[in-house]
């Protein structure tokens, strides 16, 4: 049954993708991108990958749509008409697609117990996690502890990407002074969104904290929580105007979050070194190695959440500042 669900969702995804490529109107493309993200997230969910589905929902359907719209506000609605290289790019894409399709013939069947992914380290993770870390969500155990180096790398990638985007967006042409305009009221004068939104913001924040600190027991963790908390602040910015949101969380605080998260993560690694273990080996953080592992995971997840929240909000504000 999973296969049927998956095939249906992926068929819709292909139709959506073709429609995105064919449309000339960028707003329509943005809306369809939202649908594509929901489809792929639903497909992840059908395949039982709840953690990835949560990330895709929070980042793909939520924040990406907001950022695409912010970018769209800076440009025109219609895509520029045809470039002469269309046939060449079509050929390259078609050749790449054929190679990928050819490669899938060698892949193991869906759900094959002999597939390399099931036979490599996965059984070891499933067998040893209760003994070493004792948390029910093995995805978090792999992400936070066994493969903590990779996650540290990811945090630095997010950090670097955020710095890069802000660097590009804060560039202004020489002699161009930003026109001072009256502060944008946002949706402040619209009663229904305002009342409903204000009512929802605390719940979204609470849910974000729940995803952050419940990541060891259910789907979630720092990446998802960071995106959800950023979404709550963006909602506040939409309702009250961007300046008000900057008063709550100023650029300095955001920069502190961006850098502080990455530093917190590395500091946990160095704390392990100082206490006589390996880099990012949490077992030495407490007298009981299992407790040490759990403390370590909570700390690095907090670092991940801080960096992701900071980067997403900084990018949002950088777009908004560019509009003025």
């Amino acid at each position: 049954m999973t296969a049927v669900f998956g095939i249906f969702l992926l068929t819709l995804l292909v139709i959506t993708a073709v429609a995105i490529v064919r449309t000339r109107n960028l707003f329509v493309a943005t809306m369809l991108m939202g649908i594509a993200s929901l489809l792929i997230a639903a497909n992840f969910f059908v395949l039982d990958a709840a953690d990835v589905a949560l990330t895709e929902a929070a980042v793909g359907a939520g924040i990406s749509t907001v950022l695409f719209l912010s970018a769209l506000a800076l440009t025109s609605d219609e895509e520029k008409a045809g470039s002469s290289r269309r046939i060449l790019s079509f050929l390259v894409v078609a050749a790449a697609a054929l190679v990928v399709i050819y490669a899938t013939f060698d892949k193991p069947k869906f759900g094959d117990p002999e597939a390399p992914v099931q036979a490599h380290v996965a059984p070891w993770y499933i067998e040893k996690t209760p003994e070493f870390i004792d948390i029910p969500n093995i995805v978090t155990a792999v992400l936070g502890s066994y493969r903590a180096y990779d996650t540290l790398g990811e945090v630095f990638v997010v950090f670097t990407a955020g710095i890069g985007v802000m660097f590009l967006l804060s560039y202004r042409r020489a002699g161009h002074t930003p026109t001072s305009r009256a502060p944008d009221p946002g949706l402040r004068h619209h009663l229904i969104p305002r009342v409903l939104g204000r009512f929802l913001i605390p719940f979204i924040l609470l849910f974000g904290l729940y995803v952050q600190f419940h990541g060891e027991y259910g789907p979630g963790g720092g990446f998802q929580a960071g995106a959800i908390i950023a979404a709550a602040v963006i909602l506040y910015a939409l309702l009250e105007g961007e300046e008000r949101a900057l008063q709550v969380l100023s650029r300095r605080v955001l920069m502190g979050l961006v850098a502080g998260g990455a530093i917190l993560y590395s500091a946990v690694g160095f704390a392990g070194l100082l206490l006589g273990g390996n880099f990012l080996d949490y077992s030495v953080l407490a007298s009981d190695p299992v407790k040490g592992q759990q403390y370590g995971i909570i700390l690095i997840e907090a670092g991940v959440g801080m960096t992701v929240t900071g980067v997403l909000l900084s990018i949002f504000h950088a777009f908004a500042a560019r509009e003025q």
Binding site: M1, F5, F8, L12, I15, T16, A19, F27, V28, M31, L32, G34, I35, L38, L39, A41, A42, F45, V46, D48, A50, A53, L54, A57, A58, A61, G62, T65, V66, L69, L72, A73, D184, G186, L187, H190, P193, L196, G197, L200, F203, I204, F207, V211, G218, P219, G220, Q224, I228, A231, I234, L235, L238, L239, E323
Partner: protein, 93 residues
């Protein structure tokens, strides 16, 4: 029972997708995307029970909250654009 609901949800998703692609007006598409998000929330809830893992309802909750922000962002986008056009017209006149 769950299967019937799942298939009905799939059908509604396909219908919403058709509306989103065909348009013709912007509001059709905005509504279609909103509808699609709602259907995804329903689909996740049904499949969570179908697979016997009701704790995955967390995800449906996240989708519902995120969907709301997306729609508000679209509204704000149009409001800001109308406001900017009016300001430009005033400067031009």
């Amino acid at each position: 029972m769950y299967y019937v609901v799942t298939i009905a949800t799939f059908l509604t998703m396909a219908l919403a997708l058709i509306r989103a692609i065909l348009g013709p007006s912007v509001y059709d598409r905005v509504l279609a995307v909103n509808m699609f998000g709602t259907k995804t929330v329903l689909l996740l809830s049904v499949i969570a029970f179908l697979y016997g893992r009701p704790d995955f309802l967390d995800l449906a909750l996240a989708y519902a909250l995120i969907n709301f922000i997306g729609v508000l962002a679209v509204l704000e986008f149009f409001r800001a654009r109308v406001a900017r056009r009016e300001a430009e017209n005033r400067e031009g006149a």
